[in-house]
């Protein structure tokens, strides 16, 4: 059970007002709000021990090294991974690029993606098609937006890497990852999961999934911007050659050679965002304290309420399955002939309701479906039924003029 009073205290923005009206923040798929604890942890770094980690042996350096290590351990435990299997990146996009640029490609290798990939999990593969001669195929979803396992089974036979979005930022659908991974492994392929929209909303067990690679961003799960995580099974991580090297990636160097450090250090070139990493560790602690059962329950209740209300207007078309239970905290919708940017801007102007509009970095899907754009409500546990009601009331007004 969520303690909403505590949430209000932790997330100051939830109680804040603009022009006398409360803020209704429904753009969590893009960026989550940050609890006070995360900000305090980052401030503590800057105020108390703003030093380097892993290289300075003075007192402050020791504290930072310890704090960063603790954060790595917390995050590893969060997805049931080993500490050495966690590489810090700036975000999911960087993690995918890390994989794309370090994977030992052979010309003709096939990469499979879904048809609802964020550009971050599409463009890197398109670049490799052009530069390294790999192949890229898309597994189209069923008409209801759910994953087409049969089509996948066919295509997986030839694949070298399956790189798929775990939970879609477009419609909130989650792919049957465990089954996909099992099939991939049976066919000798490796699997990468883009868990940017999963990690904030559901428990991920990397070992149980048996996933080979996985990535998520800190900023969507209460953490600071500029933080992300790349997970890989250690045996695989060791085999990848880093594509960005330099400070803190080598054991030693001479004028002619060097000895790389072991993973994950060899992938973390240059000075890291220590405040961010510590903040991310704090965000994970906060999430675990709230509990994914509570998060899921709250998101479902809000999603169901909004989905039911939206059904009052036949003009509104929800992207993805009709059942809110299959759409995480996301409700993407559009109205034929209406620019959803304008729709979102009106909500913002009228009632401080902040939602995303556009193609949500999934241009390929919109172009394929010939849909101009959509509005996306993305919920999180700190959103309330009262806020959802404000949204529906404002929507009601807008629908009267469209």
């Amino acid at each position: 059970m969520l303690d909403y009073e505590k949430i209000k205290k932790d997330f100051l923005l939830v109680s804040k007002q603009i022009k006398g009206k409360p803020i209704v923040y429904f753009d969590n798929a893009c960026m989550s709000l940050k609890p006070r604890q995360v900000i305090d942890a980052m401030n503590e770094y800057y105020f108390e021990f703003p030093a380097c980690s892993g290289r300075s042996s003075h007192k402050l350096g020791e504290i930072v090294t310890k704090k960063v290590r603790e954060a790595r351990q917390i995050i590893a435990k969060f997805i049931n991974a080993g500490e050495q299997e966690i590489v810090f990146t700036r975000n999911t996009t960087e993690a995918i690029n890390l994989l794309a640029h370090t994977f030992p490609w052979v010309k003709g290798d096939l990469v499979l993606t879904t048809d609802k990939e964020h550009n971050s999990n599409l463009i890197p593969w398109q670049m490799l098609v052009k530069n390294k001669g790999i192949r890229h195929r898309v597994v189209k979803s069923k008409d209801d937006g759910t994953f087409d396992l049969e089509k996948y089974k066919e295509l997986a036979k030839e694949a070298r890497l399956i790189s798929m979005v775990y939970t879609s930022n477009l419609d909130g659908t989650t792919i049957p990852a465990k089954e996909i991974i099992k099939i991939a492994h049976e066919n000798g392929a490796l699997v990468f999961l883009d868990a940017a929209q999963s990690a904030p909303h559901k428990k991920i067990d990397a070992k149980d999934l048996d996933v080979d690679f996985l990535a998520f961003s800190g900023h969507k799960m209460l953490g600071p911007t500029g933080t992300g995580v790349f997970y890989a099974k250690y045996s695989l991580l060791e085999k990848l050659e880093p594509f960005m090297v330099g400070g803190d990636t080598v054991e030693y160097s001479t004028y002619t050679k060097h000895e790389m450090l072991k993973a994950p250090e060899k992938f973390e070139a240059g000075l890291q965002d220590y405040a961010g990493i510590i903040g991310l560790g704090e965000a994970v602690k906060y999430l675990e304290a709230v509990g994914f059962d509570s998060i899921k329950k709250q998101e479902y209740e809000l999603n169901k309420y909004i989905t039911d209300e939206l059904s009052r207007w036949p003009k509104i078309k929800i992207i993805g399955p009709g059942d809110p239970a299959l759409r995480s905290g996301i409700i993407s919708f559009y109205i034929d002939g209406v620019d959803m940017h304008q729709f979102a801007l009106m909500l913002d102007e009228m009632s401080n309701i902040m939602i995303r509009s556009g193609q949500h970095c999934v241009h390929s899907w919109f172009n394929d479906k010939k849909i101009y754009n959509s509005a996306r409500v993305s919920l999180y546990f700190y959103n309330s039924l009262e806020e959802a009601s404000v949204f529906i009331n404002s929507l009601d007004k807008i629908m009267k003029i469209i």
């Binding site: 620019d339 940017h341 304008q342 729709f343 801007l345 009106m346 909500l347 913002d348 102007e349 009228m350 007004k397 807008i398 009267k400 003029i401 469209i402």
Partner: protein, 310 residues
């Protein structure tokens, strides 16, 4: 169209506000794209439309619906209104520069640049003076004989006639500018005293006599009467002191003043001035063109510089 309207409005507001400056930049980008025959895909138009519709929606669904549906029509209306108002603002600014009034020469309607109408204020001549109609159109030198009034620099290309009143504040305000103009442009200059408030009627006769008896020495006497504290000229007793200070022969001047021929001449002068249909002082004629009220110096000067376009 809305981008152009927004660009102008936000540019003006942007002078005072950083937020509007950013909006002006976005509008400029939008306008630039349209001018270069590219679509305005910056989202600016949608942003403006959404803001306006949303604001209306909080007040009236009917208005919001109408605005949303006929947005392009409204955008065109705003554009046309903006062009029209811009034209009037520019014209007003131009008029203000040239005539000291946004509404044109001697027009006393509201002017944002001169909200108190200082440039058109006159000391009105009351109806008993026999003025027919208070209209600047009628104010003219046609058929008026000014030969008996103090005149200097005869033969110059340009002629300035100042009809003013020693006691009147607005004449006193315009007086230094007229003197400066006469001095700088070396114009023919005719001064006519018209006692609008009739407290200083007697000074018309004194001035007439000083000019008659002492010629060009009249001008420094005249300057003094316009610059001295008004209390000194309200009462005729003080005038002897002033005349004495100027080293004029008091008895000679008084004899002249008391002469019936002088009274007849001054009456004739007033009658000539009434023929101009003037309705207040100061009234200045520059090469025959009438300026009623104290105009800024640039207005008088621009006439001689031939800077009038319309």
């Amino acid at each position: 169209m809305i981008c152009i309207v927004a660009l102008i409005i936000f540019s003006i507001l942007g002078i005072f506000s950083a937020t509007h400056r950013q909006m002006a930049k976005e509008a400029l980008d939008c306008v630039f794209r349209r001018v270069t025959l590219r679509p305005c895909n910056t989202g600016f138009k949608e942003k403006i439309k959404s803001h306006m519709v949303a604001k209306l929606l909080n007040r009236s669904t009917f208005l919001a619906r109408a605005f949303n549906r006929y947005y392009e029509v409204f955008a065109w209306i705003f554009f046309i209104l903006m062009i029209a108002s811009t034209f009037y603002v520019v014209k007003g600014g131009y008029n203000y520069y040239l005539y000291g009034s946004c509404n044109g020469l001697n027009q006393s309607g509201f002017c944002a640049f001169d909200p108190k109408g200082e440039n058109n204020k006159v000391t009105e001549i009351n109806a008993s003076c026999g003025i027919e109609e208070k209209s600047e159109k009628n104010v003219s030198l046609d058929g008026v004989d000014l030969s008996s009034f103090p005149t200097k620099q005869v033969g110059a290309k340009d002629t300035i006639v100042l009809i003013g009143c020693y006691e009147c504040d607005y004449t006193r305000k315009a007086y230094p500018d007229i003197q400066k103009l006469v001095r700088e442009k070396k114009t023919n200059y005719i001064f006519a005293h018209y006692p609008a408030k009739e407290n200083t009627n007697f000074l018309s006769e004194v001035g007439y006599c000083v000019y008659k008896e002492y010629g060009d020495r009249f001008w420094s006497f005249n300057d003094y009467l316009f610059t001295v504290d008004k209390v000194e000229i309200y009462q005729s007793e003080y005038i002897n002191t002033i005349l004495k200070n100027f080293d004029f022969d008091i008895s000679k001047i008084n004899d002249c003043v008391n002469d019936s021929a002088t009274k007849e001449a001054v009456t004739n002068q007033v009658n000539q001035l009434r023929k101009t249909h003037l309705y207040g002082t100061p009234t200045v004629f520059i090469n025959g063109k009438a300026f009623v009220g104290p105009k800024p110096y640039r207005v008088y000067k621009s006439v001689l510089n031939k800077f009038i376009i319309f």
